[in-house]
């Protein structure tokens, strides 16, 4: 029996797996650096017996090249090294610990299955220069991943080389450049919404384009009239995230695409938010010509504390000849065999080898596990979690752009700030004490006191409800205590609030004793 709309289902108020308040934090001592733990002559290393002649350094290296002493690395025993990095790891939050609702980052659970794949010696011990006949397994895997990514995005061909989303953006923009040049045009501008990720305009600059901002309208969507005014034959294309960074689907995508294409522009899809529509809507079907994907978001490859990621770029047929290479292609007349081929009019290499190959293998395993239905279930559940959470916060937080949200939404804590002076930053720090990683703060730039929340599909309904309760409770608390608790937070973490401005003024970027 479904509960009445607006009343919280009892089923969801049971203990949640994603609330990490029970995470043990062992006191608040600082961890010494390795350099402080170092003791001259202590060692952890050992090497195999090779039986080779024991020539000395002087015999092997000309005197003018030889260093008098080796670099001053720390000298620690293996036991100390293990203790140090184990303690450091326990001073760090992670998806494995609990809910990580960072908007635009898609911090979903990273299946352990994929770790096992990345550790397979048959994949992990291949040299990237090996001839095609020795790496048929890799070529088959990459070719099949390309096929799948093209099916998911509604495109014709892809490069798997870009190492991250931003490198994918740059690749896509260089493809745009090459395509226009092939048509005898040299447009100088790329249009980018004011709500876009900072990487979009930064990538445009690196590709030699001027980034021109397209304003959002009152709905938080691309202002179609403004877009029409900005379009000209000097515009190479439009970069768009859909759903966009306020979590809204650009419902005018068809007229937007028509407008851009009518002026010979190309439509670029920033795949940061693909998790909202995977298996439900395809960028290619919306008219996008170039698509980058963040495999570390939608396809759950672990983010590693900031990387590695992988940012494949998939394109429409007419752009395929320009792709970076080499790409894996079938050997004519030999079924099931592949070889590296350089696309006919390739823009060249993007990566020193073949991209973040083991990340690609993880994403491939993730996709095989999910299949067509599983991928669509991801999008549906991710949107369900976000929509539920947003509605639970209504009345306490503002939603300046209040259309139906997709996999994430942007709440504004401006009303709380007006009433109490408590900022989004304070609420974020206070949320840590409730056992949650905070949402993304102060992004996108078009929302005041922004908290951008993306629960992802792998958090249970109970976790989403517990997060809602925590976000509501800290807002109520702020109005009751005038912000005392929030501005003092966090008090349960290994260190308290850090003065970032002071760290930037008094720069200390290496250990110096």
């Amino acid at each position: 029996m479904a509960a009445a709309p607006g009343s919280v289902p009892e089923l969801l108020t049971r203990p949640s797996a994603g609330k990490a308040g029970a995470m043990p934090l062992l006191g608040r001592d600082g961890e010494p650096t390795l350099f402080e733990l170092s003791s001259p002559g202590r060692r952890g290393w050992s090497f195999r017996d090779t039986g080779l002649p024991e020539w000395t350094a002087d015999e092997l290296v000309p005197a003018d090249h030889l260093a008098a002493t080796p670099p001053a690395l720390p000298e620690v025993a293996e036991r100390d090294l293990v203790a140090h990095f184990s303690r450091l790891s326990s001073r760090n939050y992670s998806v494995d610990h609990g809910c990580y609702p960072l908007g635009s980052c898609t911090m979903k659970y990273n299946p352990k299955l994929c770790d096992a794949v990345a550790a397979m010696p048959g994949l992990a011990s291949c040299h990237p220069s090996q001839p095609d006949d020795q790496i048929q397994g890799w070529l088959t895997l990459l070719a099949d991943l390309e096929r799948i990514l093209c099916e998911v995005t509604g495109t014709a061909a892809a490069t798997l080389q870009p190492a991250a989303g931003a490198q994918g953006e740059l690749t896509g923009l260089l493809l745009m450049r090459a395509w226009h040049a092939s048509q005898g045009r040299q447009p100088t501008k790329v249009l980018i919404p004011d709500s876009a990720h900072g990487t979009n305009p930064a990538s445009a600059t690196m590709a030699g384009y001027a980034a021109v901002e397209v304003p959002s309208d009152r709905r938080g969507l691309v202002d179609l009239q403004a877009l029409r005014r900005l379009m000209s034959d000097d515009v190479a294309g439009l970069m768009l995230t859909n759903p966009n960074t306020v979590g809204l689907f650009e419902a005018d995508i068809e007229p937007i695409a028509a407008e851009v294409h009518a002026a010979n522009g190309l439509l670029y899809y920033d795949g940061a938010n693909l998790n909202a529509i995977v298996g439900v809507v395809r960028p290619g079907d919306m008219g996008f010509d170039i698509v980058h994907l963040n495999l570390h978001k939608t396809f759950a490859t672990p983010h590693g504390g900031g990387g590695p990621g992988a940012g494949p770029v998939a394109v429409a047929e007419r752009l395929a000849p320009f792709l970076p290479g080499p790409v894996p292609r079938p050997v004519p007349g030999e079924e099931g065999r592949y070889r590296w081929v350089m696309p006919e009019r390739s823009i060249g290499r993007i990566h020193g080898w073949h991209g973040n190959a083991l990340v690609l293998a993880r994403a491939y395993a993730y996709i095989l596990a999910h299949g067509a239905d599983g991928l669509a279930e991801i999008a549906r559940t991710a949107v369900l979690n976000a929509r539920y959470l947003k509605e639970r916060l209504r009345g306490t937080y503002d939603f300046p752009y209040d259309g139906p949200c997709m996999h994430e939404f942007v709440a504004s804590s401006a009303p709380i700030k007006r009433a109490t002076g408590v900022r989004a930053l304070d609420l974020a720090k206070r949320l840590m004490e409730e056992g949650f990683h905070p949402p993304t703060m102060y992004f996108p730039l078009i929302v005041d006191e922004a908290l951008m929340v993306e629960p992802t599909e792998t958090e249970s309904p109970q976790t989403v409800e517990a997060l809602a309760q925590a976000l509501l409770a800290i807002a109520v608390e702020a109005t009751e205590d005038g912000g005392a608790a929030a501005t003092a937070a966090p008090r349960t973490t290994p260190v308290g609030r850090i003065d970032e401005a002071s760290a930037a003024r008094h720069l200390k970027l290496t250990w110096s004793g």
């Binding site: 794949v117 994949l123 809507v281 990387g307 067509a372």
Partner: protein, 450 residues
């Protein structure tokens, strides 16, 4: 399908009930029908964990990876930018801790002191092995580090011309052409007997770029390159090798302004080329605050005066400065940087020296033995460390093919990339190779060129 979505149908119904919706499809009702997939993706159904492991295991079985003698895998004498070294068990275990593996960029420093301190230690160690003063928290790979080094030099000098040594690995030069081409003028400086020769008339360059050792394994004259660069008002961007750093004077010590390189050799498997880690470090200079690419970790304090680590100088970066950022890099290779740091600490100064020494001994022994084979010639007599280039009396690709039949990954083909050498190979020896391995390899080589 298995899947990782925890929701039961009762829970989904309860949530939809709360929202006043009838079905999950209602969540997408505002999306125009014309762009919605009518009948789902044309992909296979989902599979169980065991089935996925079977599929991947079977693909892995169709590769011939590097491995030890007698394993049925290929005994590796290939390098050229990707190296097989022993990875200490402790390094693997620590770098595999899920707190490092499954965390995000440390934007909330109070919850990320572990990754931040590990990166701070990485930055410090990288400065010490390169002879530099400021290191960032990593770039994608050696190629992206080289690109960013040239970009930094262009921004710092306000110039657009860069000179790239032909001794820089060809794939990296290709990446430079792709990524810097639209904004910079790129010219190449040739090698003479394995060493870079800078033209007399350099014009007004922003940077000179070389690799030390270079792609033929040769030790370059970094000090001369630094003088040449500085006399022309340019920065010297030098490719540095973290293993060679155990024996060689650092590029910073020799006068380079920017050190770039590949951290893979310390702790990361061959991995078919990635994920690796781009090393990037510079001398302290006024341009650092404005133009250094990538993330930086600084030491600061919390509200009660405890030492704490935090991302700093973020006003250079894309999320603040957008189109005017020093680089577009956002996601980097933090986990691999942390791995490299753990491996550097496991080695310490004497271990790093011993590692470099052992690689160099193997290479000396292999080189002397190979050069005794009739028809095999040195490509250059310039000093090298642990890789060296040789000319082969038969096509290099054919030699590699025959060596593979005998169980060896025999080297890296240089033929097309350095036409002046004719048929040539780059041979690499690391500490993983014993005298017996080298002897067997040389015997197979003799047969392959006979």
């Amino acid at each position: 399908m298995g899947g990782f979505v925890p929701h039961t149908s009762a829970e989904i119904e309860a949530m939809l009930g709360f929202l006043g919706l009838d079905s999950l499809d209602d969540l997408f009702a505002h999306i125009p029908d014309a762009v919605r997939l009518a009948s789902g993706l044309a992909l296979e159904p989902g599979r169980s964990e065991a089935d996925v492991l079977d599929v991947l295991g079977s693909l892995a079985g169709r590769n011939r990876p590097a491995g030890s003698v007698g394993s049925g895998q290929l005994v590796c004498f290939a390098g050229g930018g990707a190296y097989e070294h022993d990875i200490p068990t402790a390094v693997r275990a620590l770098a595999g801790r899920s707190e490092f593996v499954t965390s995000y960029t440390p934007y909330q420093p109070e919850l990320a002191q572990g990754v931040l301190q590990a990166l701070f230690e990485y930055q410090t160690m990288l400065c010490r092995i390169t002879g530099m003063e400021v290191a960032n928290a990593s770039l994608y790979d050696a190629a992206s580090a080289a690109v960013e080094g040239l970009n930094l030099a262009a921004a710092a000098t306000g110039r657009k011309l860069v000179w790239v040594s032909v001794g820089v690995r060809p794939a990296i030069r290709s990446v430079i052409r792709t990524l810097c081409g639209p904004r910079l003028e790129i010219r190449e400086a040739p090698l003479h007997d394995g060493v870079t020769v800078w033209p007399d008339d350099l014009g007004e360059p922003a940077a000179l770029l070389l690799a030390h050792p270079n792609h033929l394994g040769v030790l370059e004259d970094v000090a001369n390159a630094a003088e040449t660069a500085h006399a022309a008002g340019a920065l010297l961007v030098a490719g540095a090798d973290p293993v060679a750093a155990g024996l060689l004077r650092s590029v910073g010590d020799l006068g380079a302004d920017v050190a770039v390189g590949e951290g893979q050799p310390l702790g990361t498997p061959l991995a078919f080329g990635g994920p690796y880690v781009g090393l990037f470090a510079v001398k302290q200079a006024p341009y650092v605050r404005r133009w250094l690419p990538g993330r930086l970790v600084g030491e600061g304090e919390d509200s009660e005066g405890r030492k704490a680590y935090v991302l700093t100088l973020s006003t250079r970066e894309q999320h603040i400065r957008r189109a005017g950022a020093s680089s577009n890099v956002c996601t980097n290779q933090t986990l691999i940087a942390v791995t490299t740091a753990i491996h550097m600490a496991w080695l310490g100064p004497q271990g790093l020296r011993e590692l470099a020494l052992r690689c160099a001994r193997g290479a000396r022994y292999a080189r002397e033995a190979l050069l005794r084979i009739p028809g095999v010639e040195a490509a250059t007599d310039a000093p090298s460390l642990y890789e060296f280039a040789i000319r082969t009396p038969r096509p290099a690709a054919e030699v590699l093919q025959k060596l593979a039949e005998e169980g060896f990954l025999g080297g890296l083909e240089l033929t097309g990339d350095y036409p002046e050498l004719g048929e040539a190979l780059l041979v690499t020896v690391t500490e993983t190779r014993t005298k017996a391995d080298v002897d067997a390899y040389v015997t197979a080589f003799e047969k392959a060129v006979a």
